[in-house]
Each structure stands twice: as structure tokens, then as C-alpha cells.
Amino acid sequence: MDLVISISSGICLLLGSFICVSGSIGLLRFPDFYTRMHATSVTETSGVALILIGLMILSPDLLVFAKLVMILLLGLLIGPTTGHVLAKAAYHNGLKPKLTKSGNEQSSVPSSERGGDISKS
């Protein structure tokens, strides 16, 4: 029984962490905001879920289990919501997706520079 528990939780944890890392690599390497967003939000939900399920299998008592369930629910609720809001806000404020290879990364028109490049000092 112990073996089953540790193997199943191990698989969950491993898968989850792999997904998380791959999502983060996507966050770092993808070319523009929307693709990065796609990378993180898709992987994050599943990664979080898997890791938390892995921990749930290990949890020693009911309280810990309940808390993990709560975190999972929060994650499932909050993650997509923030992703949705973020994408909408970015689009709303004139940040255009990078569609062609030649396109400028900050293709926004100067008047709506709200989300524009700032940090290149």
C-alpha cells in the first residue's frame, strides 16, 4: 500500500513539476505577450493541480488534505480568471499580438502607449 501511495504521488509530482518548468520556459522563451501567456496559463493550471494532487495523496491527516483541496480550488478558480482579465486588459489597452515575423514586438500605436515598452532605459 505504501508503495502504491509513494509511486502514485511521485508520478503526479514529477508530471506536475515537468509541466510547470516547461510552462516557465515558455514564459521566458516565447516571442510576445500572448504566446507567453498561453504558455503559462495552460500549463499552470494542470501543473498546480497535479502537484497538489500528489501532495494530497501524501497528506497525513484530514486538515492538511482539506487545506490542499482548498488551495487547489483557489488555483483552479483564480488562475484562469487572472489570465482572462490580463489578456483582456492587454488587448483593451492596445497591445497587439505579434502576427508576422517582421512585425515589431511593440506594434502598438504611440498614442496608446499604456502598455508599451518602458524599461528599455
Partner: protein, 97 residues
Amino acid sequence: MIIAATLAIFCAMILAISRAFMGPTLYDRILAVNSLGTKTVLLIALLGFVMGRPEFLDIAIVYALINFISVIAVLRYSDSNQFKENSSENEPIGKER
């Protein structure tokens, strides 16, 4: 296995931080901070198990909530006038003598 997962999450956090540093747009940073927050939640949950005292998951819950609230706040205030470039006022408003 937990330790491996912890390390993996740690790496993922480092990647997210570098994105937060690099920007380049505001939304990239918000995204990075948000993703970092989620990973911190996981890291804390995992750390509790690593240290053998998983009772402290409350902190992870708080993180998740705070993360949500701060993303909302960021977006709420990035909506404001002053975030636009040309509306920064140069003259005093209140005439305080």
C-alpha cells in the same frame, strides 16, 4: 520525489523572475509576477512536506489570495489616467501658499 519537485519549482521560479526583470511590457511583468505567485504557493506547500510539518499550508492559501488581489489591483490602477505618458502634470494642483 518531493525534493525533486521542489527543485523543479524553484527553477521555474527563477525563469519567471528573469521574465519579470526583462519585461518588456507591463503585462509581461504582471504575468510573470502572477505565475511566480502561483509557483510560490506550490513551493510553500512542498516545503511544508519537505520539512515534515505540513500543517502550515495556511500560508500558501494566503499567497494564493494575495496574488489574486494584487493582480486585480495592478490591472485596476494600470487603467488610470496617470499611467499614460503625456498626462503627468507639471504644475502644483493644491495651492498651499
